[in-house]
Amino acid sequence: MTKTIKKSKTRFEKRDMLATFVMLLPYVLLFSIFIAIPVALAIYLSMTSFNMVETPKFNGLVNFINIFTQDTVFLRYVLPKTLMYSIIVGPGGYILSFLLAWMLAQIQKGPRTIIALALYMPSMVGAVFISVIWRTLFSGDESGYINSLLMGWDIIERPIQFLQSPDHLMTIVIIVSLWSSMGVGFLAMLAGILNGNEELYEAAYVEGINNKFQEVRYVTIPMMKPQMLFGAVMALVSTFSNGYIGVSLSGTNPTPQYAAQFLTNHIDDYGFLRYEMGYAAALSVVLLLMILVFSKIAYKLFAEKD
């Protein structure tokens, strides 16, 4: 049977296969070099003890066991903070993106472009801006704008240490993250709403909806599910892998009393401060799994049913 099929392959079919191979090659190559192999290596390293200098020693699942049994910092601070942060900033930023995109879609093109650009800007210039603007705003002496204002209005006696005190740091990190969360997802949603079919709305009004809320609920959201999915995945990935804000606001990793310690910071801490690469790799595998799970949930919520 196989013989006959092989034989029956015409020259044309062979050329077709070659074409497929050539077409696939760049993708396969790039994917394996930049994604598959590093991930596989990370998984391998996560099962070793590796101090960056000497050869890695295989130790099975010890790292993973340690993460969930020994690592008090991880269990007490990193995991809850990461989850809390992701839950507030992920969906929060996502809803904010959608709301703003929808509101923008209601106004004229000129101002819309300007405002959309203004909203998108923070996500592009994030890291630099954070240290320039936010650190100055929240600085813990009279040179910080907020402290200076509060002291000027006689609300406080001594400057509040926004960036040093664990009570405030997390809140500020969340505010700053929301500010910079209008990223690509926001643009995609804006595009989705704008490309919506006008006729659908008209039809919907004929069918009997009578306010904007219903319009959003029954037309806009179902219509732009693909963009919503994209936005959701982007928001999730970026919040999980977005550890730099707390660090660049407070100036150091770890943040004071682990007040804004996220999983990515924790990975950095182990990898580059304690030189425990194996453990850091294990943490990054955990991070990968977390992102995977949450993306799955996003798919469940937004993907087309087929």
Partner: protein, 997 residues
């Protein structure tokens, strides 16, 4: 719908145009001088401020004022008089006269009989053989009196030249600046003050009859002095007189003098530079060629550069200069000396107009009506000297300084009345407390306007010049205060303190106005010929840019490669240092020992760890942060230096405390390369006027705090600087000062819970919780300048900043030893500081060669020479604080400060390292954080974090095989102590290790 659209478009255009117009015209709110201010008004204003400043014990009487007071009394064409040493050391045949050697604080005395009373210049014959980078200053008294402040800081200039004009190239083909060489021999100078505030030498007044002149050496360098001469003041010829005097001989020639070909200069800091534009010569798109004098270094009044040129035919020549003046909308001043004298009045302080940014321009020296100046030159060799000047700016600078002094004093007076926090709800009538308030503000206004009036002529933009913009801003801020002067306390922030205050604007404009930056490419001596092109044309410069762009792809500047034949050294410093090191190695080390060394830049120290992992590591690594050698050592990647028999002997040249982080279980893995210091830095003016003593102990610090805080001022502890996680140097100093330690001897547990350690940590926390020291300070440098923190602990970085970048408080601050603590009757000043380390990598195959190299590099001679070379070539910001104490003692810091710093360095100590040290470091930070921000007690916080630290240490000790899983000791671990290190050094040197070294 359409009309709506239109409306929106119109609105948008309107908004944008309003914004643009307001941006463009917003700055139009500036003062244009209109000759409304009379001389007497200025004098009254100046004296009014002077009165209060004097009450605050700031007593300035400058040469500028002296000249103004006496200018009418100067008589010209007096006879010059020679004066001889009263006592001498012998006869020098070279100058045919007696000489005297003056070491520090020695005095040369001259007695002289004056026939004609009057003002004279003093010419001094001197010789300096010792090479130094510090200004050599002397003070002069006449009959034991000084006439003005500058008499106590008179400069003895040193003359320098390049060692060679055949510039070496570095490994990448770029030309490197030559080393600097002192020109030896006897010199004669007329006396100037050390900032050269006048074009002509300082004038001294002599009565008729017998007078005694005393010259005291106030520097640490020894000088040989011989006779002096009193020189009569002279009047300059005007150009017209000069020209009429000369023969009218036309020539046709062009002599092109390259700026980098100078034969002498009076400051090592003036240096050549490779400017990347084809408009200057020489130029190469791929490799840097030294082609101009660097304007960022050639900008201080008094700096002079001299060139030699040969005239083939006698006659009248024009002069032109190819240059850049990138001072903001402002001319720079240079006096032009031909053969050592200024030929006519117009060459005194010739103003070179601003060029457009970095555009190279030719300025033909000419008068206002564009008639060129001709200089008559005989056939033969001549010299031309360009000297930076600022005399015309001095009276303005003096006025600004007076205002800054007054604002400081005035602010203090206000604070004495209002107390720490100003009551905003109170209806202030401030004139009831200080009735002169409006007068002071009016005086400021008059004086700022005067300065603008005086200076606007130096800018093509007049009073809107960017250089004067700070004054304009100060003026508009002042108006705001003046309109509401009865409520002055509410405007204290606008008057002084913080950014945007009048004091800051004035302070900043002091620097801006006095600087005279000039990039010099060439001098043309010519007539009747075409000059070389002013600028390369568009195509040439575009082509050069393209070439430079593409050659940057093949540049190997930052690649780190391993070479088998040579000792590979990676340095975590900039290319400037690395080039200088490579030159020194090639010249000194390789020629002497035959060992080849290749030094490369390692931009990121983490590369070292990676390279160790990849087996690509170098032999030697330098400039490492002090925690790195330990991290590599415990991972078996560092070479045990103490296995070299002469290690401890060599190590005894360094501060013992600096070795602590480099020792792992009684083996040493590194040597300190540089060090850092902590001293108290305080504002003398404020301490004097408040009548405070400088605190010498922490007790005394606490004693002055209430009164200091009453005036809204405070004390700075370094823990308030930097980022929110605090490092050992910020947190653990008091632990040692109070006799505690960080670890128990076996290193298995932290000892921060001992009584002494807790005492230290408590004290640190109390500084914030009980004594209200600031918890965060953005910049100590700024707070110190504006006196919100007039005292604090300063490290080397802040010391350098304040020394070099705060001209308005120059001379009004001092340093003092670090505050002490007395424990069990012993007083100590321990401080924690991290220097940088030098180490040999574990897998090296050239251990002996590497060790030879390290010994050479860190030896006293090399370090002294390197510190000298780097600073003489690149300027005072490149001060090198060698870890080698003997070399450190030779470093070019002001003598008085150096004494204090050397005393302090003896108390240097660094935190010992264990495998879990990062946990201790962050826990100490968190203890401080918990106590200060959450109000828990130090003891409770320590207990909480100690558990965490001990756990981590235990985990790491198991990982590195010091203890077993059940806590049994497999290998002992020993925490190094200073006593142990000193002991080692003592044994190695046969008991010669000097405690005071």
């Amino acid at each position: 719908m359409r009309s709506k659209k239109k409306l929106i478009i119109i609105l948008t255009v309107l908004v944008i145009s309003i914004v643009t117009i307001s941006l463009l015209t917003g700055s139009k709110n500036i003062y244009e001088p209109n000759n409304e201010i009379s001389k007497s008004e200025i004098d009254t204003a100046f004296d009014l401020l002077g009165k209060m400043v004097k009450e605050n014990k700031i007593n300035r009487y400058t040469y500028t004022e002296f000249l103004e007071d006496n200018s009418s009394k100067i008589k010209y064409d007096l006879d010059n008089i020679d004066a001889y040493l009263d006592e001498d050391d012998g006869y020098d045949s070279q100058i045919g006269s007696n000489f005297l050697t003056l070491v520090s604080d020695d005095i040369a005395k001259y007695t002289i009989d004056i026939d004609q009373a009057g003002f004279y210049y003093i010419g001094l014959n001197y010789r300096v053989d010792e090479v130094t980078l510090n200004d050599i200053t002397v003070s002069v008294t006449i009959n034991n009196k000084t006439l003005y402040d500058e008499m106590s800081s008179i400069i003895i200039p040193l003359y320098w030249q390049d060692e060679t004009k055949e510039y070496q190239t570095d490994r990448y083909g770029d030309e490197v600046i030559s080393n600097q060489k002192l020109i030896p021999g006897w010199k004669k100078t007329s006396l100037y003050n050390n900032t050269y505030l006048s074009v002509d030498p300082l004038l001294f007044y002599f009565e008729k009859g017998e007078q005694t002149i005393r010259i005291t050496n106030t520097s640490s360098t020894s000088i040989l002095v011989s006779d002096i001469e009193l020189i009569s003041p002279y009047k300059y010829l005007t150009y017209e007189e000069y020209n009429n005097k000369n023969i009218d001989l036309k020539v046709k020639d062009l002599i092109n003098i390259e700026a980098t070909d100078y034969v002498s200069k009076n400051s090592t800091y003036v240096k050549s530079y490779a400017l990347g534009t084809p408009s200057v010569t020489p130029f190469n798109a791929s490799y840097k060629k030294l082609n101009v004098i660097d304007g960022t270094t050639y900008k201080t009044s008094g700096q002079e550069v001299t060139y030699e040129f040969e005239v083939k035919k006698a006659g009248k020549y024009q002069l032109a200069i190819h240059y850049i003046n990138d001072k903001n909308d402002f001319s720079v001043l240079r006096s032009i000396y031909i053969d050592g004298v200024i030929p006519f009045e117009e060459f005194r302080e010739y103003a070179f107009p601003q060029t457009n940014g970095q555009t190279v321009t030719i300025e033909k020296l000419k008068d206002d009506k564009d008639n060129p100046y001709y200089v008559y030159l005989e056939k033969g060799i001549h010299t031309i000297t360009l000297k930076a000047e600022s005399e015309s700016m001095q009276s303005s600078l003096r006025i600004i300084q007076q205002m800054v002094d007054h604002i400081n004093a005035f602010t203090l007076a206000i604070k004495k009345i209002t107390g720490k926090s100003v009551d905003k709800d109170r209806s202030w009538i401030f004139t009831e407390y200080i009735p002169e308030t409006p007068d002071y503000l009016e005086a400021y206004e008059v004086l700022i306007k005067t300065v603008i009036t005086n200076l606007e002529k130096y800018s093509s933009k007049g009073a809107s010049s960017a250089t004067l913009s700070n004054l304009q801003k100060a003026l508009s801020r002042l108006k705001k205060i003046y309109d509401d002067y009865d409520r002055l306390p509410l405007y204290l922030e606008d008057l002084s303190g913080g950014s945007g205050s009048i004091a800051q604007y004035l302070g900043d404009s002091l620097t801006q106005i006095s600087e005279q930056p000039l990039y010099l490419d060439a001098i043309y001596v010519y007539d009747d010929t075409k000059l070389p092109k002013e600028r390369a044309n568009f195509f040439v410069s575009s082509w050069a840019t393209i070439k430079t762009f593409f050659s940057s792809f093949s540049s190997k500047k930052y690649s780190l490669t391993k070479d088998e034949e040579v000792v590979d050294v990676w340095v975590n410093r900039s290319i400037t240092y690395v080039d200088m090191m490579q030159k020194l190695v090639d010249k000194e080390f390789t020629t002497k020992t035959g060992i080849k060394v290749k030094i490369s830049v390692m931009p990121d120290a983490n590369k070292l760890v990676m390279s160790a992992a990849a087996n690509q590591e170098p032999d030697v690594a330098l400039g490492l942060a002090s925690y790195m050698p330990y991290d590599l050592a415990i991972r078996n990647s560092a070479y045990d230096l103490s296995s070299f028999p002469d290690y401890w002997e060599f190590a005894s040249q360094f501060s013992a405390g600096a070795f602590i982080p480099y020792i792992l279980n009684e083996k040493a893995y590194a040597i300190p390369e540089t060090l850092d210091f902590n001293v108290v830095m305080y504002r003398k003016d404020i301490f004097d006027s408040l009548g405070f003593m400088v605190p010498d102990t922490w007790e005394e610090v606490i004693q002055i705090l209430p009164e200091l805080q009453q005036y809204g001022m405070n004390f700075y502890h370094p823990i308030a600087g930097g980022s929110s996680t605090k490092y050992f140097y910020q947190t653990s100093g008091f632990v040692y000062q109070f006799g505690g330690s960080l670890y128990y001897e076996d290193g298995l547990k932290t000892s921060i819970d001992t009584k002494e350690s807790i005492k230290g940590l408590t004290f640190l926390n109390q500084l914030m919780t009980n004594y209200s020291l600031p918890e965060q300070v953005q910049s100590f440098y700024n707070s110190f300048r504006y006196a919100t923190l007039p005292i604090g602990i300063s490290d080397f970085t802040n010391y350098q900043l304040i020394k070099n970048a705060a001209p308005e408080i120059a001379g009004q601050w001092e340093i003092a030893p670090f505050p002490s603590v007395t424990v069990n009757g012993e007083t100590n000043r321990y401080y924690i500081a991290n220097g940088t380390a030098a180490m040999i990598m574990g897998k090296t195959e050239k251990a002996n060669e590497s060790w030879e190299f390290l010994k050479w590099w860190l030896g006293e001679d090399t370090q002294t020479q390197f510190a000298f070379n780097i600073q003489s070539t690149y300027g005072p910001t490149y001060t090198w604080l060698s870890g080698n104490i003997s070399a450190f003692k030779n470093s070019p810091l002001p003598e008085k400060d150096k004494k204090i710093i050397i005393e302090q360095v003896k108390w240097l100590i660094d935190a010992p390292r264990t495998p879990g040290q990062y946990m201790l470091e962050r826990s100490l930070s968190d203890i401080w954080n918990t106590v200060v921000f959450e109000g828990s007690s130090t003891g409770v916080a320590v207990d909480k974090y100690k558990i965490q630290v001990d756990r981590e240490i235990r985990k790491k000790m198991i990982e590195f095989g010091f203890i077993s899983e059940d806590g049994e000791v497999i290998k002992t671990y020993k925490i190094p102590t200073i006593a142990w290190i000193k002991d080692k050094m003592n044994i190695a040197t046969g008991g010669n290790y000097d405690e005071d070294n």
